[in-house]
């Protein structure tokens, strides 16, 4: 990524943000939606996080560093959304029905993930989708690694049936 050099404060331009948004916007939205289960709130969070990226003076050492920073800022923005007057949970079916899933099992698994508690959903997304390790997730969520491990294990247990059943025909 152009726009930052190792160990120096970052100064992003609009062009940098445009390029980075292209790369990270969906990741931010996915993480935000999995936390908030409300599209409008997830969009708000995505915008705020990208604006934070433009404003930050953090000395990013690598793309991985920046990605982890984006995840952390996203999680924090999600934590704060409840203070807003506008935040209300909504039935996810309406939104889920507008999405295009590859097959019915994916739809069922999506619903099963969204039915988990928020603390499990964030771990599932970060571990399985973004490929972070338990210790990396612990740093992003600012919780002990043992807690992440426990949440991951419980989330797996809760999803076990559907993960086993899904694609059993494959």
């Amino acid at each position: 990524v152009k726009g930052f050099s190792q160990g120096e404060k970052t100064m992003f331009t609009k062009e940098h943000v445009t390029h980075l948004a292209d790369t990270y916007m969906d990741m931010i939205f996915r993480l935000a939606y999995s936390q908030l289960k409300k599209k409008a709130d997830a969009d708000d969070v995505t915008q705020n996080v990208l604006l934070s990226l433009y404003k930050t003076e953090t000395a990013f050492e690598s793309c991985e560093h920046m990605k982890a920073w984006l995840c952390r800022v996203t999680i924090n923005e999600c934590r704060k959304i409840w203070r807003s007057a506008r935040h209300r949970t909504e039935n996810i079916d309406d939104y889920a029905n507008t999405l295009t899933f590859e097959d019915e099992q994916s739809y069922d698994l999506f619903q099963a993930i969204m039915a988990l508690d928020g603390k499990y959903r964030s771990v599932i997304v970060l571990y399985y989708y973004e490929g972070y390790s338990i210790s990396e997730i612990a740093e992003i969520l600012n919780v002990p690694a043992g807690t992440v491990g426990t949440r991951l294990s419980r989330a797996r247990d809760k999803l076990k049936n559907i993960l086993t059943e899904a694609y059993c025909h494959d």
Binding site: Q47, L51, K80, E102, A166
Partner: protein
Amino acid sequence: MTDREKIQRALSPLHASDGTLEEVLKMIDQEDKKKNTRRLRRTTMIALAAAFCLMGTALAVSVSRLTAEPIGEEGLAVAVTTVDAVTSSSPKLRPAIVAGYLPDGLSPCFNEDDPDNFFTGEGDRQLFIEVFTLDVDADQVQIDHDSVNRWEELTIGGNPAICLEENFDTRTRTRLYMVDETQGYVVQLTCLNIDWDDVVAVAEGLTLEQGDGEYYAQNWSEYVTIVFGDGESVQ
């Protein structure tokens, strides 16, 4: 197919809305405008610093109050009523918030690049402390709350304050508004699952000190308009 592949396939339809980038670029333009205004203001501020020192006493008079007006059975409208001494809509430099008291188990959360003071604890307990500039348009806005099950007018450190507790999903959200009249700030505490007495104790222990950053505290009227001003009442 591995579990990872199954989960990736289930979550891959999630994409940010089409207009997201355009909105971000608009926000960046607005941010840049603010930055330019700040630069101009800073130059002016140096020249006027002595004048402000002299005006300090005049500004220290009581210029505002908080009002709470019940709406229906469970609603409550909270507003800041300013009088004539607030003469500028220019934001003030954001002060450093020092919390002299924090409930047991709450600790600062990751706050990189985030000016809010944000604390979390086990049991889904959260606390935000935010400071806004008391601006000339502050009396043009009000916050309508519904589902309020308790509220009180308080005086904290000589400052008028209103604390209210509202139902939020299955949890309890407590909001405390306080006007620091002498410094010209509105302080807002927003708390989730924290006892009423602890919220008041946090407010009592707060001090605002001169910050070392260059950022300005957002105007209260702007904040209320953005966060509460979409026509929906507070849940």
